[in-house]
């Protein structure tokens, strides 16, 4: 404000545009004097050492703790308790970028000494380590460990078959940890007519799926919930270059509408079968094909996505030990209904194909799934206090399973560095074996504090 006052005094003091002082605002610095058109500005941005090296360092330190809202004898009472240090380094050059993002973790709940970079277990989780470059004007390549996302759903994924970390999601880590990294090469071809993304992962990577180590779940084989007492024995296909994954996306934007077609060849990302002799959880082969559309509709954003899941190892649906093929469908709409208040709703359908064969081959004594699983989701987001406070409630509800999952959270930015958050993951349902209800004993509340730099 001193600045404004000064300029006012200066301008009036020298009698310049005297009338203006009476009739309107003072002229800002730089107006009213004789113009010097075309003269370049000599201002050179001060660049610090990191900038000169084009090295960009950022990160955060975070403490996060949470407890179950009810006792679960199969799991620890603490749902989460960790200190995380994320370091992010970027090196920029005109035609390429290198990126390294690594998390160092002190985890009091799941104390693992050995680092497993595939599963993100232990004290190190390597999130991103890649190089991307413009191979030609129309071809971008990204090689290495990367986070990959596409598709239109809000926390629902049909054609995005890149690995997810459901444990992180359910125990209340920041939502960025829902995406687990892929070790892949991604080529993107851009033309005037259509663009193509092609992702090759030389070795299949499953989701960081619910295996009982942190989240108890319904164990159909035992007919009860199990957790740390019965660890899942997975049989993950992981032969390099033999058990690999391909993912394609053809996409273009037409008059503001985003159109995409997808294809995937690989394996079910979370266990979708059981080896009847060993009891191991299996990841049968999966092909998927789909399409999506997203764009403005009325005053909001509408999206639609569908996918055909072709369960390759059991195309007729006769093998009870392998998940059947499915049709998946998603419709969504989001709108800012009042200032800083956004509402988003989605409808999601999973339809089992070959349902007759499923019924016919279904072993007795095991819960039978419905042909259709319907979900509706509702996201309410309210921004308050100059958008520094974000109140959010995301609700999944299944009318067919009669269960629900609620994600309330309140997040406050104290200043440019500190963010505090409290939230919950609340599961409920009529039966014990349905998708969300099985996690009922894992309902939790968490709090976190993060310093970003």
């Amino acid at each position: 404000m001193a600045f404004l006052r000064n300029s006012l005094v200066t301008l009036c003091g020298i009698g310049f545009v005297g009338a203006a002082c009476m009739a309107g605002p003072s002229l800002p610095e730089g107006l009213g004097e004789v113009s010097r058109p075309g003269e370049p500005r000599a201002e050179e941005r001060e660049r610090d050492l990191l900038d000169r090296l084009s090295l960009d360092l950022h990160g955060f330190v975070e403490g996060r703790g949470g407890v179950r809202t009810q006792r679960d004898p199969r799991e620890k009472d603490a749902s989460i308790g960790e200190i995380r240090f994320q370091m992010e380094a970027h090196r920029f050059a005109p035609r390429w970028t290198a990126e390294l993002v690594a998390d160092l973790i002190a985890d009091a709940v799941q104390c693992e000494e050995d680092v497993d970079l595939d599963d993100g277990r232990g004290w190190l989780d390597l999130r991103r380590a890649n190089i991307s470059f413009m191979a030609t004007d129309f071809l971008d390549i990204k090689v290495g460990r990367q986070i990959l996302t596409w598709g239109t759903g809000d926390l629902l994924f049909i054609n995005d078959l890149f690995p997810k970390d459901w444990n992180s999601f359910f125990i209340g880590r920041d939502v960025e940890y829902l995406k687990a990294p892929s070790d892949s090469i991604k080529g993107s071809i851009y033309t005037d007519w259509v663009n193509l993304d092609l992702v090759y992962s030389p070795r299949f990577r499953p989701d960081r799926f619910i295996d009982g180590s942190r989240i108890s779940y319904w164990n159909e084989g035992l007919g009860r919930r199990t957790g740390r007492d019965v660890p899942v024995e997975p049989d993950v296909p992981e032969d390099w270059f033999a058990e690999d994954e391909w993912a394609f996306r053809l996409f273009r934007t037409l008059a503001g509408y985003e159109l995409a077609a997808y294809a995937y060849s690989g394996y079910w990302k979370s266990p979708a079968g059981t080896n009847p002799t060993t009891g191991e959880a299996t990841f049968p082969q999966l092909n998927a094909y789909g399409a999506s559309l997203r764009g403005n509709l009325s005053k909001g954003i509408a999206h639609a996505e569908m996918g055909m899941y072709d369960s390759k190892e059991d195309r007729e649906g006769l093998n009870p030990w392998i998940r059947n093929s499915e049709l998946r469908l998603l419709l969504g709409y989001e709108q800012e209904v009042a200032r800083d208040f956004t509402v988003g709703a989605q409808y999601y359908l999973e339809r089992m194909l070959d349902y007759g064969a499923y019924i016919a081959s279904h072993p007795s004594g095991i819960n039978m799934a419905d042909q259709d699983r319907h979900w509706v989701t509702l996201r309410l987001t309210r921004l308050l206090l100059s958008q520094n406070l974000n109140l959010s409630l995301f609700t999944f509800y299944s009318p067919s399973d009669q269960d629900a999952y609620l994600r309330p959270s309140a997040r406050y930015k104290i200043d440019d560095h500190w963010i505090v958050e409290v939230g919950g993951n609340l599961f409920t349902g009529k039966d014990d074996h349905t998708f969300f209800a099985q996690f009922e004993k894992n309902s939790n509340l968490y709090a976190s504090m993060r310093y970003s730099f």
Binding site: G30, R41, T253, E334, E336, S386
Partner: protein, 272 residues
Amino acid sequence: MNQRILWGMLYWMLASGISSPAWSQDLSVEEIVERSNRVAYYQGASGRSQISMVIRDKQGQERTREFTILRWNAPGEVEGMDPCGDQKFYVYFQRPADVNKMAFLVWKHLKKEDDRWLYLPALDLVKRISSADKRTSFAGSDFFYEDVSGRNIEEDVHELLETNETFYVLKNTPKDPAGVEFSYYKMWVHKDTFVTVQVEFFDKKGDLYRQYNATKVEDVQGFKTVTQASMKDLRTGGETINEYRDVQYDIEIPEDIFTERYLRRAPTRYLR
């Protein structure tokens, strides 16, 4: 006066967007609005600017935002004319740290809803953002989206209240009062340069509640450019001060920078 005419002609040659002061005596209100809009949002065929925002609340607590804006104007139908039409914006955030490397893309349309996307690098997520309400805070500041990308001049009825030595004083009344929070706003447009020096927004009761001031203007490539501006919210007592550095016009940026490709892979060449 001769010198002013000379400068004016030079301006005209250098940039058709800048008008000559000598000819500005008998302009219609539409011409004044059009020229001030051009100076505020459309100079050059494209542009870039590094923006530092300081958001200060009533208690004096400060928050900062730093980002780069790239702008591209859709070419006009008439060769050589730079129209005040549709535009594309690319906003790349650097600070605060929690929004570092987020990118925001806007396709501004005058005749339909804007298209907006936000890229979240940690999730590699390209999110579509609803754009119905352009009068919401931009990045938590006292500036609105519409202050940053420009309000469509067709949405208001313009009156010339006064012409004095220095300013055209305009009153702008929305054609759709239900769609906005103000009943009208007054603009002080500098007569020689068409720089908008002050804007006062009046609420439905007729009280002044929001005020914009251009506080520093510089010449950049022949374009009068606001390099410091403030927006005060008189109700909350908050104020945001924007500083625009490294301003460049006609940066020869291709239109395809404003696509998903460069949301996912920041166009560093144009950002640095």
